[in-house]
Symmetry: C2
Subunit: 511 residues, 2 copies
């Protein structure tokens, strides 16, 4: 395609054409004018079909197709010859049509939603510039921006100083923290490994994110060495139970090294009591990591930051601005209280081809060796541009409004027949059952709960096939399937909360 048109041009224009291995080497082979035109046309589609429709509740959240059907609709096969621009633009249309609109006001399915125009612009810029943030020479602006954003996030945690790095996901941030705590506990593990060492043990609540298990497995610690600590009826870690687990580990002769508290659990939105947990960590000399991937954004709100009371005592914090603050997937920081270079010491491999020490500038700006990645995306930048645009007060308003909307929803649930709250939420996760008319007169017992368990999956299927909204459900800690409504987006209003409840009633009336 690009070659055919260009090769002729090149042959005509250049008399001193040089061929090596049958390839003409004069001039570039890309038809940049055609390429730019394609980008322009595609941008028009993106603007009209995604961005302008993002706040339109009359649009569908998803245009559901079963996998086998969708495979037939999309022309997935990659062939020897390329397609025309016209065909490609149609493909882009199809991709958009059958993708879930996560920025739709009625997408409540995950811990992220909505659209932020400033973050989006930042992301378009970085995609066009295609940087990789490891060295200052290749990524001067984005490294400085990352440093500034980390400094600001540290300020909101309440540390005087610290360090940090942006990672591809909160799960990866949690892994970083686990490895860092291990390195602090025993630096020789970096070189020697775990073989021959006592069994390392870490602690996290029953309600912690599943990445703790993934991390323990990946890091060679083993999932059985994550000691799960009981939670109270609101999903918060019970400090006395943590103390018991630490004692148990000590008695077994294993080596406790880390407590992972959660600030904003995935399902219930619970906040572990950080201050009391920090006391136990101090007493036993354990690293305190706080997984605030979801709840960290409350730090921005003067009204709600008390949810994370005690977080300044943590040794490390994971915080994902791509969730409640809408910075766009992915935007995840690991922040570390240590300012003695622990992160670098733990992670550096000192690759001579990348981190040359005889550069002409201050190589302390080449921060890439703090990462487990080599190429790394400039995820701090989108958060930075959004912060510049909205100011801290604008970000604060997002948090305050989400939690006020959640509060409104809770009160509405209490008023309506058939809806039953699982618990009073403290954050933006509103968990509830919907008991359809046919079950309302049933006696409480195994049969009732078994039938109720089947309600949410059916309602979910119906809402997706209709495309009216998306909402998650799950069983949890012995409780049958319940809905989890997550309130995030500034596009969302109380009308959407009302719609949510009306729609569930409508979809489940015959169940």
């Amino acid at each position: 395609m690009e070659a055919n048109t260009c090769k002729q041009d090149v042959l005509q224009k250049k008399k001193n054409a040089i061929l090596v291995d049958g390839v003409i080497l004069n001039g570039p082979i890309t038809d940049s004018k055609a390429g730019e035109k394609f980008v322009e046309e595609a941008c028009k589609i993106i603007m009209e079909e995604i961005i302008q429709k993002a706040d339109d509740v009359t649009e569908k959240v998803c245009e559901w197709r079963a996998p086998e059907t969708l495979k037939k609709i999309l022309d997935l096969e990659m062939r020897d010859t390329g397609e025309s621009h016209q065909k490609l633009l149609q493909l882009c249309q199809d991709v958009i049509q059958y993708s879930v609109k996560t920025n739709h006001p009625r997408f409540f399915n995950q811990l992220y939603a909505g659209i932020d125009y400033y973050s989006l612009v930042a992301r378009f810029i970085t995609e066009a510039l295609n940087p990789s943030v490891y060295t200052y020479e290749v990524s001067p602006v984005f490294l400085l921006v990352e440093e500034a954003v980390i400094k600001k996030m540290i300020e909101f945690i309440g540390w005087e100083d610290g360090d940090g790095i942006f990672n591809p996901g909160g799960s990866v941030s949690n892994m970083y923290a686990m490895n860092l705590a291990r390195y602090k506990f025993c630096p020789e593990i970096k070189e020697k490994g775990l073989s021959g060492l006592p069994r390392l043990v870490l602690f996290a609540s029953e309600e912690c994110h599943y990445s703790m298990k993934k991390a323990a497995s990946f890091l060679g610690i083993g999932t059985e060495n994550v000691y799960f600590v009981k939670t109270d009826e609101r999903g918060k870690m019970i400090p006395e139970e943590l103390e018991k687990q630490v004692q148990r580990a000590r008695k077994e002769g294993s080596a406790p090294f880390l407590v992972c508290a959660t600030a904003g659990t995935t399902v219930l939105g619970a906040f572990d009591p950080l201050d009391k947990i920090a006391d136990i960590c101090e007493k036993h000399d354990l690293w305190l990591h706080v997984d605030a991937s979801w709840g960290g954004s409350a730090l921005i709100s003067r009204k709600h930051r008390k949810l994370l009371h005690g977080i300044q005592r943590a040794d490390s914090v994971a915080w994902n601005p791509h969730k409640m603050l809408l910075a766009g997937i992915q935007c995840c920081a690991l922040l570390v209280k240590d300012n003695s270079g622990l992160l670098k010491k733990c992670y550096s491999a000192k690759a001579a081809y990348l981190f040359q020490q005889d550069k002409f500038y201050d190589v302390s700006y080449d921060t890439g060796d703090k990462s487990i990645q080599c190429s790394r995306r400039p995820d701090a930048f989108k958060f930075w541009l959004m912060w510049k645009a909205l100011g801290t007060t604008g970000l604060e308003e997002r948090v305050n409004r989400a939690l006020a909307l959640a509060r409104y929803l809770v009160e509405e649930i209490k008023k309506r027949e058939g809806f039953q709250l699982l618990l009073e939420p403290e954050y933006a996760n509103v968990c509830f059952w919907y008991v359809p008319p046919s079950l309302r007169k049933m006696e409480d017992g195994p049969e009732f709960w078994q039938k109720l368990h089947q309600v949410a999956p059916v309602v979910k299927e119906r809402m997706m096939k209709k495309g009216s909204m998306m909402l998650g459900y799950q069983p949890n800690q012995g409780k049958v399937n319940f809905f989890r409504q997550v309130v995030i987006s500034p596009q969302v209003s109380r009308e959407d909360m009302d719609f949510l409840l009306d729609e569930i009633e409508l979809l489940a009336k015959d169940l």
Copy 2:
């Protein structure tokens, strides 16, 4: 900002305004029209300042500023109140101006470069849709696309079947492979960890990527348990030396489990002899992982795929289409020969809130549990759209032309006084010294090499301050600083190769 204008509107329009905690909950708070306008204006800047200038050699590759100076130029501080759109657009301009133009035809500094318009469009689409690929319900199109791309890549490796996953970087792919090989070796490690087990040992060449050490450290194996195998004068692993290292590990009573061969080393672009290495792996029952992050793209070329002869015998392969094929950072696949679900068994944590088993569709499409990440970007999509646009022949042409250009450069280097090849390259890395006039008459000896060592850093400083091009240098295996020219982009022509040599001569003439 967004709130002030909107709150008044909302108050005027809605008579039944509902306040919770002082927050008005009626209607959305985002001014979407203003947001869309901002996106449009920013897109114009992106088009004019980045995309249209990408192929213009008269533009600077970089506008160098020292860190402290750049900090002063950029207004990095995040404040309580937001900035105006006008100020934000100026910020975007500044970010672009002071960023390195990695898509400039004379950016030769890393293993990626150039611009592909189709990949770029795909990336704009995914940024606007903001998906996360874990479940089919949230990411139907992108999961099917990933499956199709992985299938196609497996075909080019030469396996009949297999599995795979896209990751945030080749380093992470290598980690995945290392953990997978370990799981295959001893599945109990997932639950029990490494404590009490014999010392695990893996093998990689002296020239392997530094991510092997990072991975060994992160996974709790320990960097000392990476046994580095000697390479020949071209940087290729010597199979007899591998055999010796395996014997040594066995004698020590440790547990060898993995050989990491490299197809396209970072500095020299060397390809390990895969077929001979596979023989040794078979003999000793070791997992063979091939880090083809850089060299994998040669598989697309019928002419050059012989560089990876024997790759079909590997158990796993890392391959980054964001490098020579220009898919955009990041686009990195780990491909696995096993088709019995090993990847899923090794990585799954079965989070009940995400991977519900009572969904209404075939949940085998919910492939997210194969990942160490939770949120994950749809990196396969940009490769897919590019492949659709160019066809396999278009991708093949990129590889063939890059290697023909590298060949041209090698011949030019041989012709010019003062330039000295390090070795005959087999791929797109052309490594050479430039001996400036003042050193040409010096006797070969420590003083000569010490002086030559200082040449590349000075030339690098000068080229960056001038902004004319960017080219890497490094010492390697006892050899003093040499230049590494990496030929990738379809924007590049033999005129750029000539320029490169002319420019070095010009910048170094007084050295």
